[in-house]
Symmetry: C2
Subunit: 513 residues, 2 copies
């Protein structure tokens, strides 16, 4: 096999972290902003997020939720009402203390001491406490329930160590908040939204996630149950890609969400919350990227097909552009997986070959190049991002269908690519979950012996409190965490790998982002 | 004519401000949040904003812009670089000074003195200075220009007197930012975006705005030119509904947006910025609302048709629901003004008549009620929100087409209503602009004599500096402001109403929100 000259400098196998940063930069997805912990999301990266928003928003609305918008500022007193919640977030909150600037002694601006807020405001890290206030106003009777809200917003959690998309002080997300008449319905809804996330992650993002319940120590501050979807990255680490929380009556108590029930007496509502963030973009990179850059599942690609005429700044260029425009029109009129196909004809100045590599790095699913000879022959040169190289020759694996055939078959190629990426992610995940280990010593061995140990599924007795804390500490020595208790794990059979007591469920162990 | 019992308590003619608040509350659009100056946008209000976003976003993308996202926090030092800009915003900025909370002496939370930021951060009131930093990194050569960006975001300007949608400390908006190689192109683009706003306001929101240039004293802090679209509310006051700024090289200088031009030497970019916000929602209320609540142009109605079966909690209800479902399916399959028709079949518990008034107050364009007798006769009872009352009888003006005819004609009715609302707004505007006044004393007389004086178009000599300031002060005595210099005003003919010098252009005077 010939040597392939990949489009990136870093290699996944050599330095996954450096590779990740290079993809983000080479695909022009995001960059450091110069403001501590905050990133700039560039048009290509934001275009991916917009696609995710559109697809997830449709799913959220289809399950009966309405979008609304709540204040970015939360008074400290709101936070203080739920003890665990404030405990969980107090260490990482941006606090607004003044509402005006004036010139200081050296001429620079300073917060005006005369404009100090009586009660400092926190920039929302999450909105349970402020949405709870609104729910308390809106919910009077059982007829007002369930109340199903969602918000697309920015939130801030002051992070000391940041990594683009995965952990930034400001990030974008949606946070759903619902109130229900009873525990059964609220718990059911928590799982409904977990399933919405699973379907979104698998069907739209091709992530192959595992849904399950988080252990006690990993619960959202103030939650009774926390569920997650966990995705396996190509380095075998786990990424928590979305969470759904059953909050019991904790936040209803704190905010006073009470209603007159069918029997005429007063009840507390049971609430849920659930969120997915720009972190997902990081998950897509680390699941699908390769040594040539990003590869995008067609459903979330800002452009699914990019057409590059090989222009030479000559009068004949116009013929070439017209030839390409016909293909563009044909494609733009077609549907792919239920939506209009997104196609870009790029006629900006610059060499087609250079642009080709730009779009390879950006992960555009199909790149179509058209030169003068292609036009003469009535064909196009087509590159499929997930089959980029001819391994025999070490050259890009161009196909040359006629323009008409390209126009007809590209929608199917895109649908095929969507499936292929999911299959790859599933296969990678399934090949890298170790099962059947029964001794903790073997867990330690497994995770220290290999550079890419993947995940391990073990049985445990579901210890709580201090017993759990001890296990968590022990795992921490190997940088391991308990990811979740998979929803569809096979039944247990044997003893707990930590305590030796009879096992009650299976848990996933992994290093994680 | 019979007495009509309107659905609101307040009347526009009696107390426009109270009426405005009542519409917002009765239509469940928004409410005070309890956080100073911040409102909660409820699902119906947010649904209107989502419609506006979708329509405007399409227009912004169609003119070659990409969305991106920039940090919410701006370091003070960024602001200090452009003197006029900081001068304009320093008085109303939310300042973040700490990044952690701890328990204070009395047990309550306080900002942790150990976690004080070295440089305070401002919550963005607008993003020229932070986007300028990114532009400086991205623009190297003339080939990188024009750079056309847009951001959908929340911004904060600390307001002492707030009014829902019109003036809130936090609001939602889009802010476009572009960089160009020269003044001509940048100025042209400023006007292109003004026209995008005009078309959006007129064609989508039915506002009948007047585009024009703001006088010097009303310019955006740091701008060379500021243009606006001005809408006339039903009380004759003006609402600035969107602005487009040519920023010259002011922000390019401040942020260092330089490029190698075609000649190989270094040039400063010329930048523009332009924004439209949730304020537009207030403009829609005050333009189209009536004494029964909101009226929504169909293009921005979250639901264009609401079907209300008159359920009686009996087994026969299911037949009625099926009958309505057939109409819903027919309508949902149709296109209205280029988009799928939005129809809601509301089967929640509750009386249809009460729900009817809820949707009247919310401004749903068409309400369809269906009772047992309607079903027997194969008809539906249809109410058109812009022709609500039969003035003869004082009762709701129901029409009773067959279900099939309703299914076929409703798309046309919606398109007709969109036009009718625009025509009404245009007629109201045109009937309430006074022209031909040549003496300032008559201006004063006009604006003090009438409760609804509308706007006045006068000629002026375009004074600047102190001369302009004096005029502005004089107008202020009557709470008047110069709105803009209309783009398409007829040529001047005579002298300046303020200075007696030869007039050079026409300006609009009005009280404003």
């Amino acid at each position: 096999m010939a040597q392939i000259r990949h489009a990136l400098t870093a290699r996944r196998a050599d330095d996954f972290a450096a590779w990740y940063q290079e993809v983000i930069s080479a695909a022009e997805m995001a960059e450091e902003s110069g403001v501590r912990g905050c990133m700039v999301i560039r048009p290509w990266g934001y275009g991916i997020w917009e696609r995710m928003q559109r697809l997830l928003d449709d799913r959220i609305k289809a399950t009966g939720h309405s979008n609304a918008y709540f204040p970015i500022f939360i008074p400290l007193s709101n936070f203080e009402r739920e003890a665990e919640h404030v405990e969980g977030f107090a260490k990482e909150m941006a606090v607004v203390t003044h509402h005006r600037l004036i010139a200081g002694k050296d001429g620079g601006l300073i917060p005006d001491p005369e404009a100090k807020l009586e009660e400092p405001l926190v920039v929302r890290p999450t909105s349970e406490t402020i949405i709870g206030d609104a729910m308390a106003r809106w919910v009077q009777s059982w007829r007002d329930l369930p109340l199903k809200l969602n918000q697309w917003a920015n939130v801030v959690r002051w992070e000391m160590r940041t990594r683009m998309f995965l952990r930034t002080s400001e990030f974008l997300w949606q946070e759903g908040h619902t109130a229900h008449a009873d525990e059964t319905e609220a718990k059911e809804h928590t799982l409904t939204m977990l399933e919405v996330y699973r379907a979104f992650a698998d069907e739209d993002l091709a992530l192959a996630v595992i849904p399950g319940e988080k252990p006690e120590n990993e619960r959202f501050p103030g939650a009774v149950e926390t569920w997650s979807i966990e995705a396996m990255m190509q380095d075998g680490k786990a990424l928590q890609a979305g969470t759904s929380h059953y909050l019991g009556t904790n936040f209803a108590k704190a905010s006073g969400i009470k209603f007159q029930n069918r029997e005429g007496s007063e009840s507390l509502a049971h609430t849920t919350s659930w969120g997915v963030s720009t972190r997902m973009v990081g998950g897509v990179i680390m699941t699908h990227g390769d040594d040539d850059g990003l590869r995008l599942p067609p459903k979330i690609a800002p452009q699914q097909v990019v057409i590059l005429p090989m222009l030479r700044e000559r009068p004949e260029d116009q013929d070439l552009i017209d030839y390409c425009e016909t293909l563009r029109t044909t494609l733009a009129a077609q549907q792919v997986m239920g939506e209009p196909l997104r196609v870009l004809l790029d006629t900006r100045p610059g060499k087609a070959a250079q642009k080709r590599w730009d779009y390879v790095r950006k992960g555009a699913p199909i790149i179509v190049e058209v030169g003068g000879r292609d036009m003469e022959n009535g064909v196009v040169s087509m590159l499929r991002r997930d089959r980029l190289w001819d391994e025999e020759t070490g050259k890009p694996a161009f196909q040359t269908p006629t323009r008409e055939v390209a126009g007809q078959t590209i929608p199917d190629v895109l649908a095929d690519m969507q499936n292929a990426l999911l299959t790859q992610a599933q296969e990678h995940r399934d090949a890298n979950i170790t099962r059947g280990v029964t001794e903790f010593a073997d867990v330690e061995k497994h995770f220290t012996a290999s550079r890419y140990p993947g995940w391990m599924e073990v049985q445990w007795s579901k210890p709580t409190g201090e017993a759990l804390e001890k296990i968590v500490e022990r795992l921490k020595e190997h940088k391991l965490t308990i990811r979740n208790v998979p929803l569809d794990a096979i039944p247990v059979d044997g003893t707990c790998i930590f305590t030796g007591e009879p096992a009650v469920e299976r848990v996933l162990l992994a290093k994680a982002y």
